[in-house]
């Protein structure tokens, strides 16, 4: 009925069978000025994981936009936060979204968390030529639900641009503003009260928004949070029941 799929349920191999590339790359001798997106982070709070990102994209010293959503729902139980070149990162998100749903629908079961984590690692490895040329560098964060235990437990992973994957125990940050964020998260985790992992949703959201405010003071590529101009972050949570998004109105209410 249809051309054979080389690997059952694998969307990338289905694309290859149709002679379509998931992430086409071509060698280039010169790198254009790249649009980049920073800063994203994730930490465990009392009810799961909170993943947040500012909304600024820059190209050199130019602010391209302050309305980018860098935290992306991949499926009902997975989140991706992108730092790096949006053109490549958004395409990776699209490949993952289609791949995970394709697998779930065709194989009549969801993809396991380790397979999801590796799927992103594979895309990063396939992006190696672009990374080595200095165009298309992506350093993403991934969060997914470990369904092998009950109740399902959310986990956070981070990657290097070559595709190595690591699990983050408490928190992680990526992008140009990540140094500031990691320092504050480390301090709060060690000496603060409550620890991020003990915060309720309202506290965690307020903390995340303040983290971005501080990061934007030290990094011009990080868009801040400014209630006066209705500029908020992209914030999503992942708990045992799946992904939830927090609207600007909800963030404003928590920040008051």
């Amino acid at each position: 009925m249809n051309p054979a799929t080389p690997i059952a349920g694998d969307f990338v191999s289905l694309l290859a069978a149709h002679k379509l590339a998931a992430l086409p790359s071509a060698p280039s001798s010169t790198a254009p000025v790249q649009t980049q997106a920073t800063t994203v982070f994730a930490f465990h709070y009392a009810d799961g994981i909170l993943m947040a990102g500012d909304r600024r994209a820059t190209a050199g010293n130019v602010i391209v936009t302050d309305r980018v959503d860098k935290v992306i729902e991949i499926d009902a139980s997975s989140l991706l936060a992108i730092a790096g070149v949006p053109a490549t990162a958004f395409e990776m998100a699209r490949v993952l979204q289609t791949s995970f749903e394709y697998y779930r629908r065709s194989q009549l079961q969801p993809l396991s968390l380790p397979a999801k984590v590796r799927a992103l690692a594979r895309l990063l490895r396939e992006n190696l030529p672009m990374t080595m040329q200095g165009v298309g560098v992506v350093a993403p964060l991934f969060a997914g639900l470990d369904q092998t235990i009950h109740p399902a437990k959310p986990r956070i992973y981070f990657y290097d641009p070559l595709g190595a994957q690591f699990q983050a125990v408490d928190y992680v940050a990526s992008g140009s503003g990540s140094g500031t964020i990691r320092s504050i998260l480390s301090f709060q985790e060690r000496y603060g009260s409550p620890h991020p992992s003990q915060m309720k949703l309202g506290e965690a959201v307020k903390f995340a928004l303040r983290l971005l405010m501080i990061a934007s003071e030290f990094d011009s590529a990080t868009g801040g949070v400014n209630p006066a101009t209705q500029t908020y972050a992209t914030i999503k949570t992942l708990g045992s029941k799946g992904v939830e998004s927090l609207s600007d109105e909800q963030q404003a209410a928590f920040l008051k």
């Binding site: 009925m1 249809n2 799929t5 969307f11 289905l14 694309l15 149709h18 379509l20 729902e73 009902a76 699209r94 490949v95 289609t98 749903e101 394709y102 629908r105 065709s106 009549l108 998004s245």
Partner: protein, 246 residues
């Protein structure tokens, strides 16, 4: 040589008869458009009758499991490739069936030296409003029929299917409660598998209800729900009988 076309016609007619004979005893399936979504129902062994195809699309059917699987897989491949190369909004039932599934089923049916697909299918696409809901009946020979909203039945034989369709059209008119609708679909399912009449000799409601309860004891009632309003791209949700209020 002059008799060859007649042999071909005869072969196709024999093939039609063969497929109908093989499909006898297949468990019927249903789809109903409601204000809050589309309900699909079949009775099988679990993940065997009702399936999610894409964000706004679902399939139900009867026939040989391997043939249902081949067609389901082809539809999923086509929908996801279309979604990835264009956009999820470009995946439509009309295009999936008119330019993909139907021509392939027809070609297969007319290749008289290859085994035909033993399937009868029903597909659904949820719209933004009930009058944009599409139900589609796809026959084993590639023929298809579109319908906007309402109820659609897929059964192994045309006459009982038409009788059940007529009865459900009357019974479901004005009904919006998902539990009541699912109950009526199961009553129709029981009448079809038991060979009961939908005319004057139709058993009483209590007998029909007791009938489907007893007949589904060792089987799985497969319910699919395409929600009209969803926060997620995927509108499909598999329901249990309890979730449907039964």
């Amino acid at each position: 040589m002059t008799e060859e076309p007649y042999r071909w016609l005869e072969a196709v007619a024999n093939r039609r008869e063969y497929v109908r004979d093989q499909l006898k005893g297949g468990s019927p399936a249903f789809a109903v458009s409601l204000p809050e979504g589309i309900l699909l129902l079949g009775v099988g062994s679990g993940q065997s009758k009702v399936f999610e195809l894409f964000d706004r699309h679902a399939l139900a059917g009867l026939g040989h499991p391997a043939d249902i699987e081949k067609i389901r897989q082809a539809a999923i491949d086509a929908a996801h490739t279309e979604s990835f190369t264009r956009a999820p909004e470009d995946v439509s039932l009309r295009r999936l069936v008119s330019f993909g599934m139907s021509p392939q089923l027809k070609t297969n049916f007319e290749q008289i030296f290859a085994a035909p697909f033993l399937v009868e299918l029903l597909l659904a696409e949820i719209g933004a409003e009930p009058d944009k809901d599409l139900l589609l009946r796809l026959y084993f020979d590639g023929g298809f029929r579109f319908q906007t909203g309402g109820v659609m039945v897929v059964a192994s034989q045309p006459e009982p299917e038409a009788a059940a369709q007529g009865w459900l059209n009357r019974e479901l008119a004005g009904r919006q409660d998902r539990r009541e609708v699912a109950d009526l679909l199961l009553q129709a399912w029981w009448c079809l598998v038991e060979g009961k009449s939908f005319g004057d000799a139709l058993p009483a409601a209590a007998e029909r209800q007791a009938g489907w309860r007893a007949a589904t004891k060792d089987r799985v009632v497969e319910l699919g729900w395409l929600a009209r309003h969803s926060n997620r791209p995927a509108h499909y949700e598999a329901l249990s009988l309890a979730q449907a209020g039964l």
